[in-house]
Symmetry: C2
Subunit: 234 residues, 2 copies
């Protein structure tokens, strides 16, 4: 497999960093090719703006997704975006490795979604969910967070973590057609012992060695909806 | 009331811009004070990093929330963050005005949450949800999106929009103690007629003139949980 790891933590010595480095080593050890985009180290620009397009379909009024379609087609999209898009299209598995900020991705990673998942290639028109442009690729979300595990789940104070991650798991990764694996979660990371961290690393390594046995999450398929995207009777 | 509008669109002529300008005019016309943070116009930096702190509690290892607590306490947090925090603490009502990107906020706004909602002031320890540091303030999320209304809701292809917005409505705004009003949503904006846009503007103006009649969304309260944040029997 070709594996792309997108890493987004602002402390190079963080446990999140240890997780991505373990993934890199483990997957390379299995004979896979691995590329890493360390967004903080790259000084990645997360702001979707007019500056992302060398030529404009409409120079007077910016519709970002429209310019993405034009820019991707004519390869006039900003070089930093094109480089990430090339890695994404090369990959069979993409791992998004980050600390939870506000029950979501840090802005630097949100801006990777905003800028790199270009309309016309990753999705567009009726090409989304199982028909999305990235169909055939797998996605794994690997997160660290401060909360304890019992604060998440049905009836828990924050509800299920997967509900909080819905815009990413469903609205972004599944939307573009990717097969989304259950997230790997390291709980309460800033407050736990080194032994507990080692346990998470062992669990993660085991998970990575058996990714092909993972049961993907389930999401809507377009065949369940009519031409206008109203649900069909079951 | 003191009103803060946080606006995040990369096209100054956008319909999203028309919505925030209408809110500004309407609320000022009612005698309220209004400040606007136009994040693109301000060239807002959304990346939470070590550069946000003039002095560090721990210069060798960055725990962002910990440094936020120290920086806010000693007023050594970056000037651009402090300026936004001052506006936020001044406001009785905060309107977040943005186009939906990936069923969520554009990265430039996500980075406003990441950097401005500082630990120790906006939340911290057991100060969250109804006990959050911003209790007493109201929040209104005003969004534009490309999808049609029938694509959202129970059984619809994307499910309820409020479920997609959960990390913002519940995980961010309600988490910090704000009273969260139902979002105002302008559907299918890139594709609709000028008349349809005028209808949305009229609906929005009417909504703004009667905000005190809005029924806020409901979220957990800490009294429903024990000391360790396990749910209490009802």
């Amino acid at each position: 497999m070709n594996v792309l790891i997108i890493h987004a933590h602002n402390e190079p010595q963080s446990f999140s960093t240890a997780l991505y480095q373990l993934a890199e080593e483990t997957l390379m050890g299995q004979g896979h090719e691995v590329q890493v985009s360390d967004l903080y180290a790259m000084n990645w620009n997360p702001v979707a703006s007019a500056a992302d397009f060398g030529a404009r379909a409409n120079p007077d009024y910016l519709v970002y997704a429209l310019e993405q379609r034009e820019g991707a087609k004519h390869q006039t999209i900003a070089a930093d975006i094109q480089a990430e898009l090339d890695k994404l299209l090369w990959a069979d598995l993409v791992i998004f490795n980050f600390p939870i900020y506000w029950f979501s991705a840090p802005a630097i990673l949100k801006g990777w979604f905003d800028r790199v998942l270009v309309s016309g290639i990753c999705y567009g028109g009726k090409r989304f969910y199982d028909q999305g442009g990235l169909a055939g690729k797998k996605a794994l979300v690997t997160v660290t967070l401060g909360g304890r595990e019992h604060m998440f789940g049905e009836g828990a104070i924050h509800g299920p973590l997967e509900d909080m991650l819905r815009p990413i798991l469903r609205g972004t990764l599944a939307y573009t057609g990717m097969t989304v694996l259950p997230p790997f979660v390291a709980w309460h990371v800033p407050y736990i012992s080194n032994d507990a961290r080692q346990d998470f690393l062992r669990q993660y390594q085991d998970r990575l060695q058996h990714l092909d046995q993972d049961q993907p999450l389930e999401f809507p398929r377009l065949e369940q909806f009519d031409e206008r995207l109203y649900p069909l009777p079951r």
